[in-house]
């Protein structure tokens, strides 16, 4: 059975910081890393970069990155930046 190695709720007002913390917590994790994005209504360029970093780090650690509760307008950004395919949703 898949074990949730990480479940982290991302604060909509501090998305980049939240993602950077999630990157740190990825170390030593197994299975899935779930980021709860339900509170995120907008992402900026730094957050996009942080998501890219998170996806890359998760791939390197063989952890499945999962975004939970992504709002439609944020999902659109992920699609346009080709990030959507790097996460399970």
């Amino acid at each position: 059975m898949t074990k949730n190695a990480l479940w982290l709720r991302i604060d909509g007002t501090q998305v980049t910081q939240g993602l950077q913390e999630a990157c740190v917590k990825l170390e030593g994790c197994e299975g899935e890393a779930v980021l709860d994005f339900s509170g995120v209504s907008r992402v900026d360029a730094k957050a996009v970069q942080a998501l890219e970093d998170f996806a890359a780090k998760a791939a390197a650690a063989s952890v499945k990155p999962v975004l939970h509760g992504v709002q439609a307008n944020v999902y659109r950004v992920l699609m346009l930046t080709n990030l959507a395919s790097r996460f399970s949703m």
């Binding site: 907008r42 900026d44 360029a45 346009l80």
Partner: protein, 878 residues
Amino acid sequence: MPENTNLTAERTAYLEGLVSRARTAAAVFTQYTQADVDRIVKAMVLAGLEQAQNLARLAIEETRLGVLEDKAIKNMVATEFVYNYVKDKRTVGAINEYPDRGITEVAEPIGVILSLTPITNPTSTVLFKCIMAIKTRNAVIFSAHPNAWRCCQEAMRIMYERAVEHGAPEGVFTCIEAPTLEDNHYLMHHKDVSLIDATGGRGVVRAAYSSGKPALGVGPGNTPVYMEKSADLDMAVVDIITSKTFDNGTICASEQTVVIDDEIYDAVLHKFAELGAHVCNEAETQLLSCTVIDPATGRMQPMAIGQKASDIARFVGLQVKPNTKLLVAPISGVGRDYPLSVEKLFPVLAVCRASSTDEALKLCMEVNRAGGLGHTAVVFSRNDEVIRKFGEVINAGRIIVNSPGSIGALGGVYNDMVPTFSFGCGTGGGNSTMDNVNVYHYLNIKRVARRTQAHMWFRVPNQIYFNMNAVENVRHFPSRSTLIVTNPALEQMGHVDIVRRNMPIETMVRVLAIPDAEPEVKVVMQGVEALNLHKSDQIIALGGGSVIDAAKIMKLKYESPDADLEELAAPFLDIRKRVVEYPTEKVNRVRLVAISTTSGTGSEVTPFAVLTDKAQGRKVTLADYSLSPDVAIVDPQFVMSMPKGLTVDTGIDCLTHALEAGVSIHASPYTDSNAMQAIRLVFKYLPIAYENPRDEEARSMMHNAACIAALAFSNASVGVNHALAHAFGARFGVAHGRANALMLPHVMAYNAAVPTKFMPSPNQRAYVAHKKYALMADLLGLGGKTVNEKVRSLIAATERLLDQMSVPRSIAEIGISKADFERAVPDLVKIAFDDPSWRSNPRMPLMSELVELLWRAYRGRGAAAEGVYDEECVVAQN
């Protein structure tokens, strides 16, 4: 990543970095609101205004072109004037609402734009495009002219920093350092670049368009000016000097060749000289021509672009006054033999004398064609007719009237055109737009189209009189001269006398007996001749469908002699959108009273008429509500003696009308009420009328049923049953009602089944044919619990009704051999498919389905067992 480039890996990585930043910025930007972008735009505009002079200086230092003061003004126009235009424009989310049409326009950003900017207007173009991009939530990668990239980069930096400071996404603007053609090529083919906005010379624009990307390519011009003899010369000369010397003529919309009417030519040149221009003599013009224009290419020499007139004169070797603003060079024609007739982005102006308006327009058209198609043209005149003509013949996106070309074309200063620094030149200039490029060209505009309901109608004759002796009502219609159109049999039966007896004594009555067959053109024309001869003001059509149809067409041709029946019979899909309109202007006025002597077609209330054109061997169907009789009289005394066969045929025709109108895609509550009542009456009274032809109530009710069914199908139309019956009946000479009967049970089963293909119909929310049949079964009290059971019971009841009246139940039964039928089927399908009747059928018939229906009709019986729509089954399967 584009392939086959000569870029180094380092340069490629640099360009990829720019694209990546821009792509992220564009993606992030999609989340911004209108308020967000408006706030950022305002801040940027203020930054641009603050730096207008500095940027002008940088541009002059780097490019060595133009005039500092004018460049500063251009920077201000690019910010302040553009802002004034865009500030209240909606560019995010829903930008336009059309509630009456159910349409909402929604703005969709483009993404990453590659913007190529020119050397002539470097910083102003960058400022303009930055504002456009932010207003529309796009990211821009600037590729400036190689000799202007530093000042462009600075303009971009000022805009970028102020934008980001006010919340714009990081990376929203980038500018290529030391750009090369190879860089442009790479980016033009990059998958993440969505649009190329190229403002500049021919090469740049051509490269943009040939990249295969969507592009706004805005290139060179060659502005002709017509100075017509009625012009205000003082104003015209000042405007031209202002425009042509503005930034030393670097704006591509500036005046290039002025064509002057002979009458004012000398005066105009004198005024130019008076206001500081140098008018060249022939030798000077020759010298100028071969110096500032490259004789090899026929194009301007780059070294002259944006230079002062006095500097150009000195370089060429002309003796001019120190502060000479403009060099005016008289030429006597346009084209390669007249080098100065091309675009000159410097203060050299060609002038040409014209002996007439026509000659002037021709010369202007030639200038326009010599490199300026689609761009800009100018006319000075007080004569509106001249201005109108100029506007018609010159191919230019901006036709500037009585104002300076360059500043006029920019928009917002001398006129109310959209302010821009990018002039679309339309297809003449190889461009995708002819507009002044503005924010709407930086958007994909989506249309959210809500479902609308087409207006429906229920149109019937004004007056319908029914029941026994209803014919007495003809006495209420005053007429000086009446023509009774009938057939010989009805005349012999005394029906005409009944009508005559009831007419006012003072009415002069004539009778025209026509053959009892579908009317021919010559028969109709006989009627029209009679109407004209007797100056009739009333037609009484006494007969079946053929007689009444003939009378409808007689009325049409009598009232509107020029009506072209051939043209009026043109096919149409929707009567409200038909191409051909029936005449509304009438030479004569005549009342049409229709008295039906059969109980089937309902022609006394329908807007249709069928005409046979024997000369061409075909039928012409006319359909228009203007054909509907003015008065319908439904008097059963005229049908009491109908023979059994005719009673059955017309009765089944009536039932088919009602059943088809009931399930038509144009059915409405108005038509349903009529269709349902007609069905009820037919099932109840047709067997009685068949068995007891003298039963007055049955005859009366069947006569009413035919009229009521016709009221339904006049507005809801019929369906595939009629299409098949028309084709089959005509081919095998089978009466219309009988042909309908052969198809009817099978078509009902077909319409009640799940369609292979639904018929597009905005008026219906779901497929309801089977439910309508079930409703009819309920109305008839046929029983059944489910929709399916009810449909089957309706079909079975219809089959019983046919059997009860000994109607042949298969095509085989009426003596048509299988071989003959098999040979006919392909043609029958073609003809039926061309028949407009099925276009209101609830189910769109495939040709293969028409074949199947014909064969079912050939075999006959068993329709109730054919697959019908079973909602329970459908639900269970899902």
